[in-house]
């Protein structure tokens, strides 16, 4: 394949992958909040979306599309904070606004612990791939 054709193919495939991922996120949200389906009815889609998103961001970090060298502790903590805040808002909206289940303060606190832990695991996952990416670049530069 000629290099220009490859470049065009990569761009088209990347764009369509991104659109598909957005569409799957949309489908998950519609099923949860509009159709009010049980999680078990769409958890297969949710798992695919979650894994894809995690590995998409990890891939961008590992291969240097996101400049790893510029990742500082402040940025990582900011990212962690954003994850916790967005997770909390989403949980609050899900239980108290959309599903109108109404959770007690203790129940919300329990969910917050899950959010904080899961967000921490996600951030560590990304930091790990960033570290692998930095190591890869250093190794390539040495050779």
């Amino acid at each position: 394949m000629d290099e220009r054709n490859k470049l065009i193919a990569y761009k088209v495939i990347a764009f369509m992958y991104f659109i598909t991922l957005l569409a799957l996120i949309g489908v998950t949200l519609v099923r949860q909040f509009v159709q009010k389906q049980e999680v078990s009815e769409f958890e297969d889609i949710a798992i695919i979306v979650t894994i894809n998103t995690l590995f998409l961001i990890s891939g961008l970090l590992y291969f240097g599309a996101i400049p790893i060298q510029k990742l500082k502790i402040k940025t990582i903590l900011l990212g962690y904070g954003l994850l916790v805040v967005s997770g909390s808002l989403f949980t609050y909206a899900k239980y108290n606004i959309f599903l109108k289940l109404g959770l007690s303060f203790k129940q919300l606190l329990d969910k917050m612990i899950i959010i904080i832990t899961v967000s921490g695991i996600i951030v560590l996952f990304f930091v790990f791939f960033s570290f692998l990416g930095i190591r890869r670049i250093k190794k390539e530069l040495k050779e």
Partner: protein, 74 residues
């Protein structure tokens, strides 16, 4: 002072002249450098920015240097 000849912004007339001097069609040059005729055409029109490796292959096929084909001096 040397200026970079931005082949993605302007027509690459030097490349076209070098190709014609060698009596090569766009297709023949494309075959030599393992590209397509369209890619060669777009490079000559300044509508595609080739990779360095393709630039080197083109320069070798036309017995020119990168400077001759892709660099412009004041």
């Amino acid at each position: 002072m040397k200026n970079i000849y931005y082949i993605y912004a302007m027509e690459n007339i030097k490349l076209k002249i070098a190709r014609i001097e060698k009596s090569l069609s766009q297709q023949e040059l494309a075959d030599l450098v393992k590209a397509t005729r369209q890619t060669i055409g777009l490079i000559e029109k300044g509508k595609y920015n080739p990779t360095l490796s393709l630039c080197v292959r083109i320069a070798r096929a036309l017995n020119k240097t990168l400077n001759d084909l892709f660099w412009d001096e004041d």
